[in-house]
């Protein structure tokens, strides 16, 4: 049951599209939401943390471009590399 000032038709508009573009990953010990770009890069969209200090870390800033680095031999997990580092 939804209790909101936003009308139902606005909440449930366009329900099927774009659902798979976002993914949650653990980056530097914090949970972040990544948005998949049209090329094979990802952008940090949102940081999911209650720790205010995490929001000051430059590697977790929303807007940071990331690329997956495949390391098949080393570890089964995916590692991320920052692209738009200054």
């Amino acid at each position: 049951m939804i209790y909101s000032v936003v009308p139902y038709e606005h909440i449930f508009y366009n329900a099927e599209e774009n659902a798979s573009l976002r993914m949650e990953v653990n980056l530097h010990g914090e949970q972040v939401v990544l948005l998949k770009n049209s090329d094979s890069t990802y952008t940090i969209e949102r940081l999911l943390s209650t720790n205010p200090k995490s929001y000051l870390k430059p590697e977790l800033l929303p807007g940071t471009l990331l690329m997956t680095v495949s390391s098949v031999k080393e570890a089964p997990g995916v590692t991320w590399e920052i692209l738009n580092k200054d």
């Binding site: 209790y3 000032v5 936003v6 909440i11 209650t50 205010p52």
Partner: protein, 263 residues
């Protein structure tokens, strides 16, 4: 190999010596000067921001900005559990959302023993109202608004009186929670919910910053600094208690401020 171990031992010994020295200094201060060094205790607060829709059982379409139940609940548990975290600042700017999820988060915050303070910026509408009052003390920005309106029906509706009764009971959960955790009475809150002539296409009331305080829903009009100061005061009070079992800071109610000192 042996020399390395020896070296490590020496380092540990040196550190122990340093600790002893500083302890001796403290004792000397008490003996010679009659002063006790007060340890500066850094207050470590965590901040939970609630934005957009509160998402519960149903995943909402991606054009909605959402605060997800499964993110927030474990974070609240971690905040309560972690000894290094002293308090929680809840920042709200929400349009409402799932009743069950909103009430669950509100109940979790209301039952935390650590100090909690909320600050409403922009809007704290619908199910955002119980969330706002769930903390020990609540602030609202002067320009922020709260919309209080009845629950709406959606989906297939069977035209029987029981449908209305069911809805009334669902609504009662929200009314109950808000009246228990703030100074507004059940009747007062229900009156605001069912008021006509305030909203263009709905029944209900829009309260601006000061009005929410006047109705007794929110404790005070303020901003970030006032919210943090209040939280720091609560944290000092919480840590000032003796014994290992610390009592939770009591909910500040506007009408009975004295009661907050008694348990």
């Amino acid at each position: 190999m042996d020399s390395k171990v020896y070296f490590a031992d020496r380092v540990v010994e040196k550190e122990k010596d340093k600790e002893k020295e500083s302890e001796n200094d403290k004792l000397n201060n008490i003996k010679e000067l009659g002063t006790v060094e007060i340890q500066d205790r850094g207050r470590n607060i965590h901040c939970l921001t609630v934005i957009g829709q509160i998402e519960g059982h149903m995943i909402l379409p991606p054009q909605n900005k959402t605060t997800k139940y499964e993110h927030v609940i474990p974070q609240l548990v971690a905040i309560e559990e972690d000894k290094n975290i002293d308090g929680l600042l809840l920042i709200l700017n929400t349009v409402g959302g799932d009743v069950e999820a909103g009430l669950a988060i509100a109940e979790m915050i209301a039952s935390m023993s650590k100090p909690t303070v909320s600050l409403i910026l922009g809007g704290g509408h619908s199910i955002g109202v119980p969330m706002a009052v769930s903390t020990n003390y609540s602030f609202i920005a002067p320009s922020a608004t709260m919309t209080i309106h009845p629950l709406r029906l959606n989906g297939m509706i069977i035209g029987v009186p029981q449908t209305y009764e069911y809805f009334d009971r669902m609504q009662e959960r929200v009314v109950d929670f808000v009246s228990k955790n703030s100074s507004i009475s059940k009747e007062g809150f229900r009156k605001l919910m069912l008021k006509t002539g305030e909203l263009a296409n709905d029944v209900g009331t829009v309260l601006f910053g000061q009005e929410a305080v006047d109705h007794g829903i929110i404790n005070e009009v303020g901003g970030l600094a006032s919210a943090l100061n209040k939280l720091y005061k609560f944290i000092d009070k919480y840590h000032g208690q003796k014994g290992t079992q610390k009592k939770a800071i009591r909910k500040s109610k506007k009408t009975q401020p004295e009661r907050s000192n008694k348990q």
